[in-house]
């Protein structure tokens, strides 16, 4: 038996806002019978962009019904702009959490909301972008990537819990694993916090002192940091480096690479011109 919160059980047994709105002006519909859950969201948005009424119809399990009930409760009284910010995690939190295997119920809620808002704004519905990865549940690589990024997922099992992808024949598990690896690899640079200018200059100074100068001095040369303008690092060469034919090579392939590696990938090193 699933461990459902009391709040979820209450929303399941006595769902709020179940039914239809005849004159709804923002409607979304996601899922299908084959997938095992489907959700239709209907909203009435007034001229000020405030959601006056929200109702749902759903085919799904207890947590799907409760998620739909929660979503409609959260939407009422909000502006479209506010509604747009609701995430699947917000829906789960509203219900006091969802079992991890049921997170896809909240994802369905977020998807239907996105679709209803797009339609309300008259935006052309995004054509299905990306390529289907999970044939069983028709989940695309873009949807999988989004779930991985937004919920910080790291395993195939987690991806299945959030998107259903991989929950059927399991043939796509290798592909899902590749997507996880790719997203994780892309995210790595962002792990480094954004540097303030002062922090950046300090790191450049330290790197030059620690990693660059000792090696150049070993060959009788030297380098001096003159200025930092954005990502441009202006240096002057000294000792045997000054006037050396190969000094621009040194700057480019040694100093610049070192700074890119240790400080920021965007750094460009320039030699000061008189």
């Amino acid at each position: 038996m699933w461990e459902y919160s009391d709040k979820l059980i209450q929303h399941f047994l006595n769902p709020k806002n179940a039914g239809e709105i005849d004159d709804a002006n923002a409607v979304g519909e996601v899922g299908s019978m084959a997938c095992g859950d489907a959700l239709k969201l209907m909203m009435k948005v007034d001229e000020n962009g405030i959601i006056q009424e929200a109702k749902f119809q759903t085919f799904g399990c207890a947590s799907a019904i409760a998620s739909a009930s929660a979503l409609t409760e959260m939407l009422k009284g909000k502006t479209i702009e506010e509604a747009e910010k609701i995430t699947n995690q917000d829906i789960a939190n509203f219900l006091g959490g969802l079992p991890k295997e049921k997170m896809h119920c909240s994802v369905l809620g977020q998807q239907v909301l996105e679709q209803a808002i797009s339609r309300y704004r008259g935006e052309a519905l995004k054509k299905q972008e990306g390529e289907i990865v999970c044939e069983c549940f028709g989940v695309t690589d873009i949807e999988i990537e989004k779930a991985i990024k937004e919920n910080n997922l790291t395993t195939v099992e987690e991806v299945t819990n959030f998107t259903k992808a991989g929950g059927g024949c399991e043939n796509c598990h290798d592909n899902i694993r590749e997507i996880i690896d790719r997203v994780r690899a892309e995210e790595k640079p962002n792990i480094k916090p954004k540097l303030s200018n002062i922090q950046k200059i300090r790191m450049i100074e330290e790197t030059i002192e620690r990693e660059v100068r000792p090696l150049l001095q070993h060959d009788g040369g030297d380098i001096e940091l003159m200025d930092v303008i954005g990502n441009r690092v202006i240096v002057a060469t000294r000792g045997s480096c000054a006037g050396c034919q190969a000094s621009h090579q040194t700057l480019r392939f040694f100093v610049e690479l070192k700074l890119q590696e240790l400080v920021s990938p965007d750094i460009v090193v320039e030699e000061m011109t008189e």
């Binding site: 399941f12 019978m33 085919f59 799904g60 207890a62 069983c136």
Partner: protein, 389 residues
Amino acid sequence: MKTVYLDNNATTKVAPEVLNDIMPYFHDLYGNPSSAHTFGGQVGKEINKAREQLGDLLGASPEEIIFTSCGSESDNTAIMSALSTETGKTNIVTTRVEHPAVKALCGHLTKIGYSVTEIPVDREGRLDMERYRESLTPETAIVSMMWANNETGVIFPIEEAAQMAKERDILFHTDAVQAVGKIPINLKNSAIDMLSLSGHKLHAPKGVGALFIKKGTKFSPFLIGGHQEKNRRGGTENTTGIIGLGKACELAAKNIDVENTKVKELRDKLEKNILSIVPNSRVNGGEAERLPNTSNISFEFIEGEAILLHMDEFGICASSGSACTSGSLQPSHVLRAMGVPFTMAHGSIRFSLSIYNSEEEIDFVIEKVPPIIEKLRSFSPFWKKEAHA
């Protein structure tokens, strides 16, 4: 709140007579049957008595019975034994609708070099006998086929299937966990080589099962250890479980008529009433020969877990083949093998009765279930569309 228990294919209550008989073996007669002293030896005698009681129910001799810990262990023992004694044969023939105890084991075996042939079923869950015949090859080490399906109650023609295997010198095992105690079984002069059963499905405690191995069948133990069960299954005997299973088999022999009269009548009443009150509902496997206690009903356009949890509010216990109930994302492999459409498969509910159910309970379920279905359909996007169409 009163519990109305209609989930007897999942597990059953221990019969009061069984409980009464096994109590002394927890506290006063706790000896080890293998011991040399009388204190232990007297328990050993009770185990042999249980072996006779099982033999009587199945039409087998006591020495053809070994006790195990559960139905799954019996199934694993049977199949693994065949693969080890039938040297050189690497194929297993089974069906698409087996219990995970066989299905998952076969899945595992395909990963380590064995081939598995799964015989399909028709829309009513009946076995494709022609495909079965064609699947039996000289490479086949064993056929493993359930006697009755746990989800639908559909009964396979086991004796006929076993005979076909025997004619080709292929070992035949049947998972009879759901059949034993519900339909008459007689293994005397049968072509069946091995048969699995489980205690807790017929009012014995959980944690005990048995495997029938026909005399003369080559056997290789699965659980290797002490000399228990004549070296066929190591491990100290679950004395209370085994003695309880013996008693439960004795009771089952007496009650098998009740299963096929009173229980069947209650099941039929439940089915008939639900189907007549609730539109767009159907019995899965309803046209096939079925166990007398099982009814698998699909309610179109709604989802099973939601139905179950609403029934739970009234203390009604059943189970569902829907995806959400199990935590997998696909509906029951049994219903899919039968080609039950998705509109029906997700909304399937299995009611399974026992001799302990009363007519009042069935009337209560007939009263409570239809409004639940109506409520869930009232906000199903598919139900409205269907009604308008």
